[in-house]
């Protein structure tokens, strides 16, 4: 199975967030918890839905990522362009 992370938008400001291994919501995709194991992804998503019910985030879902790993860092790159734009921001200058 491909590696996946969990994302949502934060309720208070709509900012894109990614769920880490400790159940915190991070603004940087590289800090997300990723797994290729269905059960682990389901557990991460279940925790995200609990946060959704609590009014922390909106609309959590899974995103497929590729991993760029080197000795110094690990980077996640969503396979789908839409998610790459969500993770990295607009591809055009903001003025």
């Amino acid at each position: 199975m491909p590696r996946r992370v969990i994302t949502a938008n934060r309720l208070i400001d709509g900012v894109v967030v990614w769920r880490d291994a400790a159940g915190r919501w991070r603004e940087e995709i590289d800090r997300a918890a990723a797994s290729d194991d269905d059960k682990t992804v389901a557990r991460l998503l279940s925790g995200a839905r609990t946060d959704e019910a609590a009014g922390v985030v909106i609309g959590p879902y899974e995103v497929e990522v590729e991993v760029e790993q080197n000795t110094a860092s690990r980077r996640f790159l969503p396979t789908h362009l839409r998610e790459r734009i969500r993770a990295g921001g607009p591809t055009v200058a903001l003025h």
């Binding site: 309720l11 208070i12 400001d13 709509g14 396979t79 789908h80 734009i85 969500r86 591809t91 003025h95």
Partner: protein, 551 residues
């Protein structure tokens, strides 16, 4: 321009307070997202890719200098220092926090603005000709009628839960600058056989997944019956329109399914039943509304300014801008100026907060403190003395707002696309930017005037790609962006839906494809024939052969 009365102020204040409480309850998790979403959408607040987006209503595109300054403050304080003007003559802010939304609506209310009915299945912002009230070819100023429709449709209890969104455009000229025939209802002021002025009513236009051009519903409607007749149309739609299928829920599908004759019969029957005196507009009320839009106190000047003519001769850059961006004014000695929001390689329709403030000051100094937003995502200063055009042009040039490209190849309409929009299937802005850069030189060399290129990032067609002379629709195909190209569309009085030229192009190839189309046009055009007329004359074959290397 229209000034709020007590009723308007009370309504907007109540709505703002109501939404503040709804936001509080949402943030306290007393409302779920499912419960809250319809409430925020009724106040123009969407959740997009990166943040909330607030769409602020600019009724018929008319905004005062003070209102534009308020929009600049909002952009600076609550957003990231810019806004995006839309094809409904509204403005969108892309980086809004939910917690700030009530304060923003408060700030808007302070300058008689709001975000009501900029979303949802209701009657949306009424649009009109950006040259309303100043166009020499106008039968009558459409703005009082747009305002009458705005007031009638605002919070209308019967039409707050229509089968789908509903868009109305009003125009006062035979030349349609309001894209009237791609609206659910198009209203056009016309002169009847006896010389009296009334309305043509068009119905069933729309773009999106199933593009259709509006059909004539009634050739002449006396003025006093405008609201009664519109109410009858909306009632028939509200009852007969489909609610079981999102893609078949617009009025265009109903009109197309029933046929215009049957639809007309239903409307006329409904109108006969309900057109009592309560819905009849009184002459005094119409006059009161028209008084808000009375011609401003123009100076008495000769028709041609010697100062303007002299500057045109001595300054070629000014002459080029004047040729492209000026529109004849009905008042001698004045001109209507279009400020292009399409700098070469820029983001179509975007304006920074600093530019908003500067344009507001220029409007105060040169154009009676008034600005208009066009459905082509540009701005207009409608009352500029010709003597002062050169000074205005220099000031605009310093702001990077003097691109001389109105209605030319680089005057591209683009939606936010996948860079911002949650519905988009492909990006629009980067394609627009690359096209603008590529076509600027071609335009300079070959005079690509009277050409509209419209780019939408999904089938919802916010950029009206179906009616662009060249339309580009961004889709996702096999995980990659793919751009479908249509030729021959028009949103003007010769309205038509463009035809797909063939298989789509990848993101890397679409700019080359458009260039090939234009080079083919240059080889085919006769004299100064515009692109649309060449396509209509020669058909699609020459373009298809060039694009797909067919013999």
């Amino acid at each position: 321009m229209y000034a709020y009365d007590t009723l308007d102020r009370t309504f907007v204040a109540q709505r703002t307070a109501q939404f503040r409480e709804q936001v509080r309850r949402r943030l306290a998790n007393e409302l779920s997202e499912d419960e809250f979403k319809p409430l925020r959408l009724r106040n123009g607040l969407y959740l997009q890719l990166h943040a909330y987006m607030l769409r602020v209503a600019i009724p018929y595109g008319l905004v005062s200098a003070d209102q534009l300054r308020a929009l600049a403050r909002i952009a600076r304080r609550y957003d990231r220092g810019y806004g995006h003007f839309t094809t409904r003559q509204n403005i969108q802010f892309n980086w809004i926090s939910l917690k700030d939304a009530p304060d923003i609506l408060n700030d808007l209310a302070a300058v008689e603005m709001h975000a009501v009915q900029t979303s949802g299945n209701c009657i949306r912002n009424i649009t009109t000709d950006q040259f309303a009230g100043v166009a020499a070819d106008e039968i009558e100023d459409p703005r009082p009628w747009a305002e009458i429709i705005r007031q009638w449709s605002t919070n209308h209890p019967e039409f707050s839960f229509l089968p789908r969104k509903f868009k109305v455009a009003v125009t006062g000229s035979a030349s349609d600058r309001s894209a009237m025939r791609v609206h659910d209802i198009g209203v056009r002021l016309v002169r009847g056989i006896d010389g009296a002025i009334g309305f043509e009513i068009w119905v069933g236009g729309g773009l999106g997944r199933t593009p259709m051009i509006a059909q004539l519903l009634r050739g002449f409607l006396p003025k006093e019956h405008l609201l009664g007749y519109l109410e009858a149309v909306l009632r028939v739609y509200n009852v007969e329109g489909r609610r079981d299928n999102l893609y078949k829920s617009r009025i265009k599908i109903l009109v197309s399914t029933l046929g215009i004759e049957r639809f007309r019969d239903l409307v006329e029957a409904e109108w006969t039943l309900t057109s009592g005196p309560g819905l009849r507009l009184e002459t005094a009320g119409i006059a009161r509304m028209q008084s808000h839009f009375r011609a401003p106190p123009y100076a008495d000047m000769p028709g041609r300014s010697r100062e303007f003519e002299a500057k045109r001769l001595e300054d070629s850059a000014f002459a080029r801008w004047a040729k492209a961006n000026l529109f004849p004014h009905k008042q001698p000695g004045y001109a209507a100026v279009t400020i292009s929001l399409k700098p070469i390689g820029g983001v179509p329709g975007d304006l920074t907060a600093a530019q908003m403030d500067a344009v507001a000051s220029l409007a105060d100094a040169y154009s009676l403190g008034e600005i208009r937003v066009t459905h082509r995502q540009n701005l207009v200063l409608a009352h500029v003395p010709q003597d002062r055009l050169h000074d205005l042009w220099r000031a605009l040039d310093a702001l990077d707002l003097a691109t001389p490209n109105l209605s030319r190849a680089t005057d591209i309409i683009a939606c936010p696309g996948m860079d911002y929009c949650g519905l988009a299937t492909a990006r629009s802005i980067p394609v627009a930017q690359r096209l603008s850069e590529r076509l600027a030189a071609l335009d300079e060399q070959y005079d690509l005037d009277q050409l509209s290129i419209n780019i939408s990032g999904c089938v919802n067609s916010c950029s009206h790609h179906h009616v662009g002379h060249i339309g580009i629709l961004g889709l996702e195909k096999g995980g990659a962006e793919s751009y479908q190209v249509t030729l021959g569309g028009s949103s003007a009085e010769d309205a038509a839906v463009g035809r797909i030229i063939g298989p789509g192009f990848g993101a890397e190839d679409v700019v080359d494809a458009v260039e090939t189309i234009l080079i083919t046009y240059l080889g085919q055009r006769e004299d100064s024939e515009r692109f649309l007329d060449t396509v209509r004359r020669v058909g699609q074959d020459p373009f298809r052969r060039a694009l797909y290397k067919q013999p």
